[in-house]
């Protein structure tokens, strides 16, 4: 066991998977000599060589499009988008091809590949460096979207993503990259994609979040439990698509109340889908409207104003209180 932050944990998974399977290759901008702008790919070049760790030209569609070809030909490419804000440039290849080769060829050609990308705000970055657009990827049939929240699940889910037979968008909360450490096993670990995790059990209200928002959610849950002794259930969604509707519904059927914390813009984000799922599967158990705390329908403001855009523990706490008191 060692205590790792998320950057180290992801780096560990990459090392482990590249050592385990020689078909795993990494490609992206500055991932080699530089070790990635966040140092996530540090050491891979030295260990596995320039043929398997490719510093590519500056072209996002080129990166994903060529990764698709590699995957078709039997490799297991792990492509990096330097920031998720630039991932729109490869969406044509993702939606048009990675997501479709299996359907198009009835399973003869498949795209087992991973697109890693740091996402989200809170690090005082330039424009296009702070978005949370998981819903865009998650609305593409044939693509899985995974968002870890902590070093341990990041490592285990990345391993699962690399082994998965289909394209996985793996969104790393850059704000949590070095925010905290966790004990991580010395043995390779793999978690199941498509399953949410109940982090704390409770009976009065369900809080659902994912990625970087798990931290303010956790903080608010802690404060409320302490202040009012309420029993809160906390769910880490982990996979945005395909979504684990059963875990969500089972919890809300039990608690009757729910608050969702999402960094993405308000409209058409995963929170909307969660609410729709609750409507489908647990409406009659609801004792209050589900409350969603989200970003606004704004371009993420420059960093001088981003704190007021991002859901804060205070906003989450007030939402929980209002929903408990409803």
């Amino acid at each position: 066991m060692s205590k790792l932050n998320m950057v180290q944990a992801i780096n560990l998974a990459l090392h482990e998977e590249m050592a385990r399977d020689q078909n795993v290759v990494c490609l992206g901008q500055d991932i080699g000599v530089d070790g990635g702008v966040f140092r996530v790919t540090e050491g891979l070049l030295a260990k596995f060589g320039a043929e398997r760790v490719l510093d590519t030209p500056l072209a996002e569609s080129g990166i994903l499009g060529s990764a698709i070809g590699m995957a078709i030909a039997g490799l297991r490419p792990v492509a990096e988008m330097q920031f998720s804000g630039f991932a729109y440039l490869m969406l044509g290849q993702l939606e048009g091809n990675a997501a479709r080769y299996r359907a198009r060829s009835q399973g003869r050609f498949t795209c087992p590949l991973v697109v890693r990308m740091p996402y989200g705000g809170g690090v005082r970055a330039l424009e296009h460096h702070s978005e949370s657009h998981e819903a865009t990827f998650a609305h593409v049939p044939g693509v899985k979207v995974v968002m870890p929240s902590a070093p341990g699940n990041a490592r285990a889910l990345l391993a699962a993503a690399i082994r998965d037979p289909d394209p996985v968008v793996f969104m790393e909360p850059k704000r949590s990259y070095r925010a905290f450490r966790e004990e991580v096993s010395d043995e390779p670990e793999v978690m199941e994609i498509g399953r949410a995790q109940v982090l704390r059990e409770g009976s009065d209200l369900t809080v659902i979040s994912w990625g970087a928002m798990m931290r303010p959610a956790l903080q608010a849950v802690g404060e409320i439990e302490e202040q009012r002794g309420a029993s809160l259930e906390l769910i880490d969604l982990l996979t945005i698509s395909p979504m684990d509707g059963e875990t969500i519904a089972a919890s809300v059927r039990k608690t009757g109340r729910c608050v969702i914390v999402q960094e993405a813009p308000f409209s058409l984000g995963p929170a909307s889908e969660i609410i729709a799922t609750i409507n489908d599967k647990a409406l009659l158990h609801l004792e209050a409207p589900v409350k969603r705390i989200t970003g606004y329908d704004l371009t993420v403001p420059y960093f001088s104003r981003e704190d007021m855009y991002l859901p804060s523990p205070g906003r989450v706490r007030r939402a929980i209180e209002e929903t408990l008191d409803f």
Partner: protein, 382 residues
């Protein structure tokens, strides 16, 4: 074989000053083996490719079959028995000759106007009918493990070709990739990114650009200002040349040599095959809206099929009787394919649910159940 003279300077009017420096010059080669009557030209410059009669006949047969299937598909479409389809009449040399130059272990990465090449790679005719009738089932075939399905998004497949080529290189396989696309594709960002990646990686890929002079209604001259498409290779320090795309032997020779170079570690090559689409863009298109009958007529005279036939006849490996037999053989083959296509078994209605992910997930299975429930209700209704 003929060579273009070096192109003169480019650009608009230049004011006096030092900007004449911007006025680069360059030179692009052009390969032609047969003249428009099928006679070998410039024998001194290399003569005919090193193809034996069997190979020549395989190539010729492939082109004749492609044309006949095109005819038949057009009829089927007009009868409402298949959906939209993109005829390739006139372009048979571009799609078939490369396949004769390829080995089975090479990858065929096509766009949507290379049915001839696909058939020559072994795709059964009836499966191509299935494809044009809206069935994913028509998109692959046994033996087609290295023939990618039709790619509709213009230029997207070029990047897949590069990735596959890189994988071949990494795995040390003695295999290369041939990638097809049109003149219109050269305008897309993916064209550029693929060309650049291929050159940087020295990937074993041969790019075959079928410049058929039109991208739907946009003529080649409005697609890009460059006088040749081949010169675009200069941007990537990639070898590039023009070939007469209605000269099957020229196409063969260029692809053959480019494949040899690719397999030898020499990297990619860009081949602009100058040809012409004699029919509509797709069955939904009316070319009379944008081009003249005369233009089409002029290109009909350069038809690649009679041209190759004349060469074969002159070489003594083809005669009229063989042609009669071939036509009959192909007629039968196509009739059988139509029959097979029309008698095709019932297709699994929920197959799409089988091919979203390799690992089942409850969310999709719930939807499949809903779909099947609806299906049985609607079928009960009728």
């Amino acid at each position: 074989m003929s060579v273009d003279s070096a192109c003169p300077a480019a650009g608009g009017p230049i004011p006096p000053g030092r900007l004449e420096l911007a006025d680069h010059t360059f030179h692009i080669g052009h390969l032609q083996v047969l003249d428009e009557n099928g006679a070998l030209i410039a024998k001194d410059a290399g003569g005919a490719p090193d193809l034996n009669p069997d190979q020549l006949i395989r190539l010729y047969r492939g082109m004749v079959l492609a044309r006949a299937v095109d005819d038949r598909l057009l009829k089927l479409q007009r009868q409402g028995r298949i959906g939209t389809f993109a005829p390739a009449t006139g372009q048979e040399a571009v799609s078939c000759a490369p396949v004769v130059a390829m080995r089975p272990e090479d990858w065929f990465v096509g766009s949507f106007r290379e049915l001839g090449g696909r058939l020559l790679r072994g795709e059964p005719i009836d499966r191509s009918f299935l494809y044009y009738n809206g069935h994913e089932e028509g998109n692959t075939f046994d033996g087609g493990e290295r023939t990618l399905p039709v790619a509709v998004i213009i230029a997207c497949q070029m990047l897949h070709a590069v990735g596959i080529a890189y994988a071949m290189k990494l795995k040390g396989e003695d295999a290369a990739v041939v990638c097809f696309f049109g003149d219109g594709a050269t305008s897309e960002g993916d064209f550029h990114e693929a060309m650049n990646f291929a050159a940087v990686w020295q990937a074993p890929v041969v790019f075959v650009c079928a410049n058929n002079h039109w991208a739907i209604s946009l003529p080649r001259e409005k697609q890009t200002r460059s006088r040749t498409l081949a010169q675009k290779a200069i941007a990537y320090e990639m070898p590039g040349l023009q070939v007469d795309g209605n000269d099957a032997l020229a196409v063969y020779q260029a692809v053959h040599e480019a494949l040899a170079r690719a397999r030898a570690g020499g990297g990619p090559t860009f081949i602009e095959a100058v040809t012409y689409r004699l029919r509509m863009h797709t069955t939904a298109d009316d070319p009379k809206r944008y081009r003249t009958e005369e233009e089409v007529k002029a290109w009909e005279r350069r038809d690649p099929i009679p041209r190759l036939r004349k060469y074969l006849a002159a070489r003594g490996v083809w005669n009229d009787e063989m042609q009669v037999n071939l036509d009959e053989e192909i007629r039968k083959e196509i009739e059988e394919a139509v029959k097979k296509f029309e008698e095709a078994e019932d297709f699994k209605p929920d197959a799409p649910f089988d091919h979203v992910f390799g690992i089942p997930h409850p969310r999709l299975e719930e939807q499949r159940a809903d779909f099947l429930a609806n299906l049985s209700r609607e079928q009960g209704h009728e």
